[in-house]
């Protein structure tokens, strides 16, 4: 890992760690920051696919949804200890990614976008029809998970630092993956698939593994999102949500996971800020995004690097 990839995330993590103690400790602010950090995790996992492997998925929200609905299913069965819930949710999302990825990765380009969208929509409509778990109305969780019998996640600061720790770990993991032998093959196949094959790499297996890892991290983000909101609804899996994630990744910059991190924080916070200014905030937000795409070629992190 090189310093130029690391300084910005480390600065962001430090600011997030300080936030509760420098005037951002109120409940609603911490809720907002938790949401930003959770989308940060999901966006970083998506950036492994989009930036690292060149796989533009428009179904990543489904991974979050599978993780969140795993929490719901277990909660309904009165299982609410993180030591069980987290592994089950992560494995469920990984399995969903394995099955859908195995098919989707047979295609590329626009077809890949469409097939990931289709799988995402299938998952969305499936959750909408789960009457047992509230269907369209969603499912309310009355408590956060226990961790080995302890209720420490109920504590505001404890939850804040749990999200922060997982966010930092996610960033570290994805950055390491991209720098590793595995990541080198992924990046090579993205730049020039024929070249990767000509030296002996069949990219499919590497891409599938990346897809499963990204799905697993998405599932973990889904667990955290369910805990932050204490509520799970099919909207978590909507294709608009997948689009938002994709936008976070692209706005932040495709050069590495730090781009997705910055993009996710920026979008969640700007959205909130604009929504405070006016109820017609989308009228401002839309054009703002268009301007960013036009003028920020390397994304937000590209500007910081100049």
């Amino acid at each position: 890992m090189r310093w130029r990839d690391a300084w910005l995330p480390l600065l962001v993590f430090a600011l997030l760690a300080l936030a509760p103690f420098i005037g951002f400790g109120q409940g609603h602010v911490l809720t907002l920051l938790a949401r930003a950090m959770i989308f940060g995790m999901a966006a970083i996992s998506l950036s492994l696919l989009v930036g690292g492997a060149g796989l533009v998925s428009l179904g990543h929200a489904a991974m979050i949804g599978v993780g969140a609905y795993a929490v719901v299913v277990l909660d309904h069965a009165r299982v609410a200890d993180a030591l069980v819930v987290v592994p089950v949710a992560v494995l469920a999302a990984a399995l969903f990614a394995l099955l859908t990825g195995a098919v989707a990765l047979r295609t590329s380009g626009v077809h890949f976008i469409m097939i990931t969208l289709a799988f995402g929509q299938m998952a969305f409509f499936t959750t909408s029809s789960l009457a047992l778990y509230g269907g369209d109305d969603g499912y309310t969780l009355y408590n956060r998970m226990e961790v080995a019998g302890s209720r420490f996640l109920e504590g505001r600061l404890a939850f804040h630092f749990t999200c922060l720790a997982l966010l930092a770990l996610t960033w570290l993991l994805v950055q390491s993956l991209l720098d590793s032998r595995f990541g080198r093959v992924l990046r090579a196949a993205q730049q020039n698939e024929l070249r990767a094959q000509a030296v002996g790499f069949a990219p499919y297996r590497y891409r599938l593994v990346a897809y499963v890892i990204a799905g697993a991290i998405g599932g973990l983000a889904g667990v955290l999102l369910s805990q932050a909101a204490e509520f799970v609804a099919p909207a978590y899996l909507s294709w608009q949500r997948s689009g938002d994630l994709l936008f976070m990744v692209i706005l932040g910059g495709l050069a590495g996971p730090h781009g997705a991190l910055v993009g996710a924080l920026a979008i969640v916070l700007i959205e909130e800020w604009l929504a405070h200014l006016t109820e017609h905030w989308r009228m401002i937000f839309g054009p703002l995004l268009i301007l960013c795409v036009f003028f920020l070629r390397g994304g937000l992190v590209g500007v910081l690097r100049r």
Binding site: R184, Q191, R195, Y206
Partner: protein, 248 residues
């Protein structure tokens, strides 16, 4: 002398056009076998079938005695069949060194390693550097491949192929687009390599072909119309009519 590579009756049609017609040839260790022929004779299509980019309609490709006809490009590359491309095929965003290191990585253990930075693997870098040195590119190792001159890119392609430690090199117009000085340099490099591999060479530069080849096969309309040592080919009337005559 047993063949490293043997083609048996390869045929390929694109619609009504027969681009490869019953082509059989062999390549031995230490031999340069050149394929020549006018544009559109099917040389590159044949290389695609040998390397695994394109499946033949019928016939067989035997590599080191194994039937590899059904294997793809990556699987053949892992067995030691390296190819270079007519149109430069590199990783533009990777440094020259990393372009080569990827090829070393492909034959040095699993690439399902997830944590340790690949850029820091001294064994990969040392072997990659050796291949770059052999091709005279050591000084350019840390530049992005996109920043190299055209001739240097051709050298880098060869360095990648060497780093694969192949048994056979398939070279599709390695001199394409190079100036006379660069071409001369590449010919010197290639003749130094020929003992170590079997080389199947496609090249338009006739002086280069006659300088390097031990055997020449002439393709016209997808079929081999003549095959033999350079002197015999030079004297062959059919070849003169089909191809060499163009120059005189």
């Amino acid at each position: 002398m047993s063949a490293l590579l043997e083609l048996r009756g390869l045929s390929k049609r694109f619609g009504g056009l027969a681009v490869t017609q019953d082509v059989s040839l062999t390549l031995a260790q230490g031999e340069v076998h050149a394929l020549i022929g006018p544009n559109g004779a099917g040389k590159t299509t044949l290389i695609h079938q040998v390397s695994g980019t394109l499946a033949p309609d019928s016939g067989q490709v035997l590599f080191l005695g194994e039937d590899v006809t059904r294997l793809g490009l990556a699987a053949r590359a892992r067995r030691g069949l390296a190819r270079s491309f007519q149109i430069t095929c590199l990783l533009p965003g990777f440094s020259a060194l990393e372009n080569v290191a990827l090829a070393v990585q492909a034959r040095s253990g699993s690439s399902f390693r997830f944590i340790r930075p690949a850029r820091g693997e001294a064994a990969l870098n040392a072997q990659a550097m050796a291949a770059l040195e052999e091709m005279g590119l050591a000084a350019r190792a840390h530049l992005p491949a996109s920043a190299l001159s055209h001739g240097e890119k051709r050298q880098l392609e060869l360095a990648i192929a060497l780093a694969m430690e192949p048994r056979v090199l398939l070279l599709d117009e390695p001199l394409a687009g190079t100036g006379p000085e660069e071409a001369e340099r590449l010919i010197r490099l290639l003749s130094a390599l020929k003992q170590r591999y079997g080389i199947l060479l496609i090249e338009h530069d006739m002086p280069a072909v006659f300088a390097l080849a031990d055997r020449i096969s002439v393709l016209a309309q997808g079929a081999v119309i003549a095959s033999g040592p350079p002197d015999a080919i030079r004297a062959d009337a059919k070849v003169r009519a089909a191809y060499l005559g163009d120059d005189e």
